[in-house]
Amino acid sequence: MLELLVSQALNGIQLGVLLFLMAAGLTLVLGIMNVVNLAHGSLYMVGAYLAAQMTAVTGSFLLALPMAVLATLVLGLVLEVATLRTLYQRDHLDQVLLTFGLILFFNEVVRVIWGPTALFVPVPEALDQELEFLDGEIIYPAYRLAIIAVGLAVAAFLFWLIARTRVGMLIRAGAANRDMVAALGVDIVRLNTLVFGLGAGLAGLAGVMAAPILAVESGMGDGILILTFVVIVIGGIGSIRGALVAAVLIGVVDTMGRSLLPMILRELVDRQLASAIGPAVASMLIYILMAVVLTLRPQGLFPARTG
């Protein structure tokens, strides 16, 4: 039983870390730049497709990884310059609408280019194995451990960037008052473009990392986008720390809920009923969690202290 719990906790953390990669980018762009970017999920998808394409071309996932991340970052820059830039001053909902249009576009574009069926990305050879712990009681795929490691490294980098550097301060200041930052001599436009690029790159990284374990297909970004929003809302918009905590929380709760809830229910009520309500409740679990968190703390767990 303990081994099971440990394995499930690892699963939860891994899912959480993947969510964190997404949430970090989105929270930067939303919380800090105050832009609602629904196309964040599309960038994730594009990252995964590019990983597939470049793995196929170069024959190496490890080569494809930086290329795909970079390409997604550049795509993010292009998007920002071409469309979103004019919308910073406008209502959130204009941004919602515009990026919704982008979702439709990207979902279709990848189908036109790569066809409607899912693509294949192999797990890099070195990581394509199961690691055994505790005398084989716990078996865990090496690649998933790699995802956890990458996520934690990114988290550390972001903490440092946002909290400790001048760039981080300027980014936060720009979120509160663009005009004032500019009036003090900082090129806020370029700063925002860079932040958006960073966010896009992170989404791309998430997509690339997910590609070997998930189906690379059109629309793969939509579901995770919603989950990502759940994460940043629970964590507190604009807070990297909140994103990390909430991502892992969501990952673990979702995983534990899916695996333990049906078991527990079966102890409590009869099997028929348990199999009827178990899965339903398990799929609602993260939403219930969000509702509870926001009821108790309407600004999320770590409200970024904005005005």
Partner: protein, 315 residues
């Protein structure tokens, strides 16, 4: 204004005549009915979103809930509108009131997400309800019986929908200018000040939330009668998103914007999908262009005088 309204009414009135002239008029009439129904739903969302600043990403829940109200009662043999409709609307009101108590404590993006959460819970509930078809949905054998009025007649259903839309618009029009409407609009921009002035803002927003939910329920009832079918996909989050798109596309916080938005989106989808399988490849950029160039939504293209919507979010 008055002239525009009369013209719009005239157009709405002659639609059945025009479609009757086309080959396959019934389809076009059905399509027009669908537009009208979604216009009602979008108008109801506009009430809280456009005027109240409450961006709900769970509004389709009411649409689906009311449709299920009709469907489930019909499945149990209750098909008179006199029972079905009040029950369906009451369900919406209760759901709005209960969730409103929680969601209205939050604001901004938090509000968006928590409304989504409740809608998703309802969605998963109906997906799991095997008795009522679960994810496959529920076919409604007969349309609601409404006294001597035969909803099976497409023209009748169309006119009823138009009537409901006109009613909703009129209601909105009066509401936003009324004392109540002033409070709702004031709370959108400065909740703190509202409280200092002496308004228990929460209560007003809750009432507005319930009103909007019920109005959306009307659309759901009509939709159930139009399609004679209801499924959880009616309340999927993507539908709620689409309602937002309609409102913003048309022009939020304006009376006719949502109607225009609903018509534009549905017609665009229809025309493009008719023309190519890759219709989303074109719809996406069209939406992007509209956002970039029609700053106040489509309605801004028609009516240059109305004031620009006030700044961004405050919260």
């Amino acid at each position: 204004m008055r002239a525009t309204v009369l013209a719009a009414l005239a157009i709405a009135a002659v639609v059945p005549l025009v479609t009757a002239g086309l080959g396959g008029g019934e389809f076009y009439l059905g399509f027009a009915t669908r537009i009208v129904i979604f216009a009602i739903a979008a108008t109801s969302l506009n009430l809280i979103l456009g005027y109240g600043g409450l961006v709900s990403l769970g509004h389709a829940a009411f649409f689906g809930l009311a449709a299920y109200g009709v469907g489930i009662l019909a499945a149990h043999g209750v098909d008179t509108a006199a029972i079905q409709w009040p029950v369906a609307l009451a369900a919406c009101a209760v759901f709005a009131a209960v969730t409103g108590l929680v969601v209205l404590r939050t604001s901004g993006i938090y509000f968006i997400m928590i409304t989504l959460a409740f809608a998703q819970m309802l969605y998963f509930l109906f997906v799991s309800l095997r008795q009522y078809g679960g994810d496959d949905g529920l076919t409604i054998a007969t349309r609601s019986r409404l006294g001597p009025i035969d909803l099976g007649e497409p023209v009748v259903l169309y006119y009823l929908s138009v009537l409901c839309l006109v009613g909703s618009l009129w209601f909105c029009h009066r509401l936003v200018a009324s004392r109540f409407g002033m409070v709702i609009r004031g709370a959108r921009t400065n909740t703190r000040r509202m409280a200092a002035l002496g308004f228990p803002v929460f209560r007003y927003q809750l009432v507005a939330f319930v009103l909007a939910g019920v109005m959306c329920g009307v659309a759901g009832i009509l939709q159930a009668n139009l399609t004679q079918f209801v499924s959880p996909s009616y309340m999927a989050w993507a539908r709620s998103g689409e309602l937002i798109v309609m409102v913003v596309l048309g022009g939020m916080g304006t009376l006719f914007g949502p109607v225009l938005g609903a018509a534009a989106l549905l017609i665009l989808e229809e025309v493009l999908a008719d023309w190519t399988v890759h219709w989303m490849l074109y719809l996406g950029p069209i939406i992007v262009l509209i956002v970039l160039f029609a700053k106040r939504g489509l309605i801004g293209l028609f009516d240059r005088r109305s004031p620009p919507p006030a700044g961004g979010h405050h919260g």
